[in-house]
Symmetry: C2
Subunit: 192 residues, 2 copies
């Protein structure tokens, strides 16, 4: 899409105009999406004033070349201020055996870095959790405001990738309707 | 981290070097995200030149008030041209018993609307699949380019919501590493 088309979209439908159209109530909207499952990821960053960690279920890849992914953060999350100004961050793609880390990053009012035996820093400074088999370090390249959240686009610079065999045997962690699930042969219903 | 684990980390001298090299290779990036699960959705639209349908695993909600969600489309998808210019569209959040629809929207080189018994049009014109319990009609409010894809932000205007009881018993459909999964009590490993 050209820049001209992008501008055209903005002119047609600003957030204010869209809001004026009404639409689904917050409760209706949450109800619809409560039944939409998503893989769990733990995002960490440090913009100079201490490490933050946040569990999200909104990470997806958008482009392999260049390698780009996005996720969203609500203005209400305690980690948002840091992630909004961080230039680089880490996204940990969680396996079912990392449910404890997913809960750590989803629990309010605690020091998520209190246990210093489970996290470390990369040489580039970002806090990370070495137990996670797959993580990606990336640089924030774009942000899009959407209501009371921000969609963050990240360029993947560096990663720890799992062993092929380990990856095959580490079921991913999925969140759905306030429950955590693992995907295994028992949950499989078909191949694409 | 052990030496063996170090070997799997994609290491670079600097972010500048990483950027110059493009960061992770497409294969490394795809490998990392192959093990990230996602709920399946079927997106339909008609910008005036015929209906299109596309299965995506990149839908997530970003804001309940106003009710906004995003998804991404690759430039390479056959439905992209239509979805790029459509002002409104439908996102169907799929259950495990709609695996056939997920496959329909993920299969290239077929007429996804050949079976006229399974789709209809809303009074507002958008094509949709009435068998799906949860769908949302939305207006595109913003687009963000990211590599060879576009992240589309949508304001939810109208929805079909499932009956509470039916929703509880319809397991969501999840895609992961070229396999389809359903989330049920068997896959549950904990509550948040």
């Amino acid at each position: 899409m050209s820049e001209a088309e992008h501008a055209h979209v903005h002119r047609l439908e600003s957030d204010q105009e869209a809001a004026a159209l009404g639409g689904l109530s917050p409760d209706e909207f949450k109800f619809a999406f409560r039944h939409h499952a998503a893989g769990a990821a733990l995002i960490t960053a440090d913009a100079g004033d201490g490490p933050v960690a946040m569990t999200v279920t909104s990470v997806f890849s958008v482009s392999a070349e260049p390698p780009l992914f996005v996720f969203s953060i609500s203005d209400q999350s305690s980690a948002t201020a840091t992630i909004t100004k961080a230039e680089t961050l880490i996204v940990h793609l969680l396996s079912a055996d990392q449910l404890d880390l997913a809960r750590l990053g989803a629990t309010s009012g605690i020091d998520r870095f209190a246990d210093t035996s489970i996290w470390d820093r990369l040489i580039t400074g970002e806090p990370y959790f070495p137990a996670v088999r797959t993580w990606i370090r990336g640089r924030v390249i774009d942000r899009m405001r959407a209501g009371s959240s921000t969609v963050v686009a990240v360029h993947a610079l560096q990663a720890r990738l799992p062993e092929t065999t380990a990856a095959e045997t580490a079921p991913p962690l999925v969140y759905y309707s306030r429950t955590w699930h693992e995907l295994t042969e028992r949950s499989e219903i078909g191949r694409q």
